[in-house]
C-alpha cells in the first residue's frame, strides 16, 4: 500500500513539472557558461605552470647582477663579508649537505624501522594476543582494538610532521641543547683527537640541528616506505613463509628488496626536504660561516643564511642573497625531480606486476 501511494505521489510530482523546462538542449547561455568554465580551468592550470617558470625567472633575474660580479667563484669562496663585498657560499653549501646527509642517515634508520613495524602489524598482533587471553578477540568493541591501535600509531607518526618547524626549533633551543651538552662536552674532552668531536658544544651547533632535522624528515620516510612495503604482492610473502623462512628472513630477503625502489624514492624526497628546511636550522645550527666536520661546532646552511640575512640585507646584498637562493633552488630541484622520477618508476613497476 505504502509503495502504491508513493508511486502515485511521484507521478503527481512528475506531472506537476514544467516539462518544457526539463527537456531541452542546453540553452545558449548554458553553452556559453560551459565554454567559459572550461577555458577558465585550462587557464588556471596554465597559471600553475607559468608560476613555476615565473618563480625561477624572478629569482634568476634578481640574482643576475651578483652572478655577473662574482661568477662561479661565489660557489667556492669561503668568506662572507658585506663590508669588503667578499661573498662565498662554500661553507653554506657544505653545511647544507653535511647536516642533510647526517639527518638522512638517522631519519632513514628510524623511519624505515617504523615503516617495517607498521607494515608488519606488530602492534595489532600484540593487542590481538592479549585480547585472546581474555577471550575478547571477537568482541564487537574490543575486537576492533588491534586495528584502531595500528591506525593510532600511524597517525601519531604523521603528527610528527604536523608540528611546525619553528616549534621544533624552540624545543631544540631550550630542551635538546642543554640536555645533550654535558654528553657532547665529555666526548670532546675524552676523544677530542677524533675529527667529529674536535670542538666543544657551547650552544647551537650541528648535532642539535641534525637531531631535530632527522625527526622532521622521519614521517616522510616512514609514510612512503610503509606504502612501498604494503604494496608488495602478498603472494611473495606467502611464498617465503611457505618455504620456511622466518619473519625477518622474509623481511630482509624478500620484502625490503622488492620495496627498495619505493623506499629509495622516499629517502630521496626526504633528502630534498632536509636541504630546504629553514627554521629549525636557522635556530639551531649556530649561523657561523665555518667549514667544519665537527659535530659540535656551529655552522650555517643555505636556507638559514637566507633566513638570517634577508631581513637586514641592504640593496647591495640582495642580489647576492638571490644568487644563494638560486643555488639552493638548483640543488633542491635536482634532488626532488630525481626522487619523483624514482617513485614514478617504482609505481610503474609494481603496476606491471
Amino acid at each position: 500500500m505504502a509503495t502504491a501511494s508513493r508511486i502515485t505521489r511521484e507521478r503527481k510530482e512528475v506531472a506537476a513539472w514544467n516539462h518544457d523546462q526539463i527537456w531541452h538542449p542546453p540553452s545558449k547561455a548554458q553553452r556559453w557558461i560551459d565554454l567559459v568554465f572550461r577555458r577558465l580551468c585550462v587557464a588556471f592550470a596554465a597559471v600553475t605552470v607559468a608560476l613555476i617558470a615565473f618563480l625561477v625567472l624572478e629569482i634568476g633575474v634578481k640574482a643576475l647582477p651578483a652572478i655577473r660580479e662574482h661568477g662561479l667563484g661565489f660557489l667556492y669562496g669561503t668568506t662572507w663579508d658585506p663590508n669588503k663585498a667578499a661573498y662565498g657560499i662554500l661553507p653554506e653549501i657544505w653545511g647544507t649537505l653535511y647536516t642533510s646527509l647526517l639527518a638522512l642517515f638517522f631519519g632513514s634508520a628510524f623511519g624505515i624501522a617504523a615503516a617495517v613495524f607498521l607494515s608488519e602489524g606488530y602492534l595489532g598482533e600484540f593487542a590481538f594476543k592479549i585480547l585472546k587471553k581474555f577471550d575478547l578477540h571477537f568482541h564487537p568493541f574490543w575486537g576492533k582494538l588491534p586495528e584502531r591501535l595500528e591506525a593510532l600509531l600511524k597517525n601519531l607518526i604523521e603528527l610528527l610532521a604536523a608540528v611546525p618547524s619553528v616549534v621544533y626549533g624552540l624545543w631544540g633551543l631550550f630542551v635538546v641543547i642543554p640536555l645533550i651538552r654535558p654528553a657532547c662536552n665529555w666526548l670532546h674532552t675524552q676523544f677530542g683527537w677524533f675529527p667529529l668531536f674536535s670542538t666543544d658544544l657551547s650552544g647551537p651547533g650541528i648535532l642539535p640541528a641534525v637531531f631535530v632535522l632527522s625527526i622532521m624528515i622521519l614521517p616522510t620516510i616512514t609514510a612512503i616506505s610503509r606504502n612501498a612495503l604494503v604494496s608488495v604482492p602478498p603472494k611473495l610473502r606467502m611464498a617465503a613463509y611457505g618455504l620456511g623462512a622466518t619473519r625477518w628472513e622474509t623481511i630482509l630477503g624478500v620484502l625490503l628488496p622488492t620495496a627498495s625502489r619505493g623506499i629509495f624514492g622516499g629517502v630521496v624526497l626526504a633528502f630534498g626536504r632536509a636541504l630546504g628546511e629553514t627554521m629549525a636550522l636557522a635556530m639551531l645550527v649556530g649561523n657561523a660561516n665555518r667549514l667544519t666536520v665537527s659535530l659540535f661546532s656551529p655552522a650555517n646552511t643555505l636556507a638559514a643564511l637566507l633566513a638570517n640575512s634577508f631581513p637586514e640585507a641592504g640593496a647591495k646584498e640582495i642580489p647576492v642573497l638571490m644568487y644563494a637562493a638560486l643555488v639552493l633552488l638548483a640543488i633542491t630541484l635536482v634532488v626532488n625531480m630525481f626522487g619523483a622520477l624514482v617513485l614514478e618508476r617504482a609505481a610503474a613497476k609494481s603496476e606491471a606486476k
Partner: protein, 324 residues
Amino acid sequence: MSDRRPVPAKEPSNAETLLHRVEDQAVRDPFGGVDFAELELSLYRPRTMFSIVLSWIVGGMTLLALIPLFAVLWMLVWRGGRKLSLALFTQLPPAPLEQGGGFGNAILGTLIMVGLATLITIPLGVLTGVFLAQAGESKLAGAVRFSAKVLTGFPSILAGVFAYGAIVLATGGYSALAGGIALSILMLPTIILTSESAIAMVPAKMKEASIGLGATGTQTVWMVLLPTAMPGILTGVMLAVARAAGETAPLLFTALFSNYWLASNGRVDLMQPTASLAVLIYNFSGMPFKNQVELAWAAALVLVVLVLITNLIGQSFSRQQVNQ
C-alpha cells in the same frame, strides 16, 4: 673378434638419473635426509633468535621515534600552559624588559594571512584539479602535474624569496599581502593534487549518468563531481591550511613582524608589516628576556593547538569520504 665389443647401455641423462634417485629415495625413505629437529621452531635457534631480536629492535626504534613528539607536546603544555591566560589573546607584544603582554595581533595576523592565502589558492588549486581530472594525459596536464610535484618539495624559504622579489620590492614595503601570497605558493600543490585525486575517485558511472542526462560538462562538474569529491577536497584544503599556519620562513621577510594591530585609521590595512605567531616564536626565542621566552612557549602552544585542530578537522572529512 676384437672389434665386437658389447654395446654399452645408453647412459641416462643427468636429469633422468637425478629424477630416478629422488624417486628411489622417496619410495625407500620418504623423509630421508630431513632432520626433524631442524624444522622445529625453537626460540634458541640462531635464525629464530635473530628474527625475534630484530622485531624487538624495530619496535624499540619506533617507540624512540615517537618520544620527541610527546616530549615536544609535554614541554608545550608544561612551559606554555603556565602562561596561558585571556590577556594573551587580547594584548599586544611587550617591549623588552616589560612584563605581561600577549600576542593578539599575531593570532589575528596569522589568521588573516592564512585566510588570504586560502582565498587565493582554493579557486586556482581546485579548478586546476578539475582540469587535471578531466584532461587525462594531455601535454598541458603532464606539465601541470610535474609543476605541482616540483612545488611540493619547494623549500618554503624560497617562496619567501620569490614574494620578496616580486611583491615587497615592487610595492615598496613588507605587507600582509606579500605574506599571504608566499603562503599560497606553499598551499597550491597540496590542494591541486588532493583535488585531482578526490575528483578522479568519483565513480565513472555518476559522471556518465550526468552527461547521459544531457548535462553540460560544467553542470556535471558543479552538480556531480565537486559535491561528491567535496570531503576529499576539504581534507586537502585543511592539510594545506595547517601547513601554512605553521610556516615561518616565507613570512620572515615578506610580512616581517609588527608590535601593533593590523590596522590604520581604524580600518584593516593589508599593506603594512604584520605579526604572525610563527615569526613571534622565532623572534622571541632569540631574546635574552625571560618574559619574551615564556611568551614564545605560550605562542607555540597556541600555534600547535591551532594546527592540530585543523589537521583533525581535515581527517574527519576524509573519514566521511571513506564511510560513503
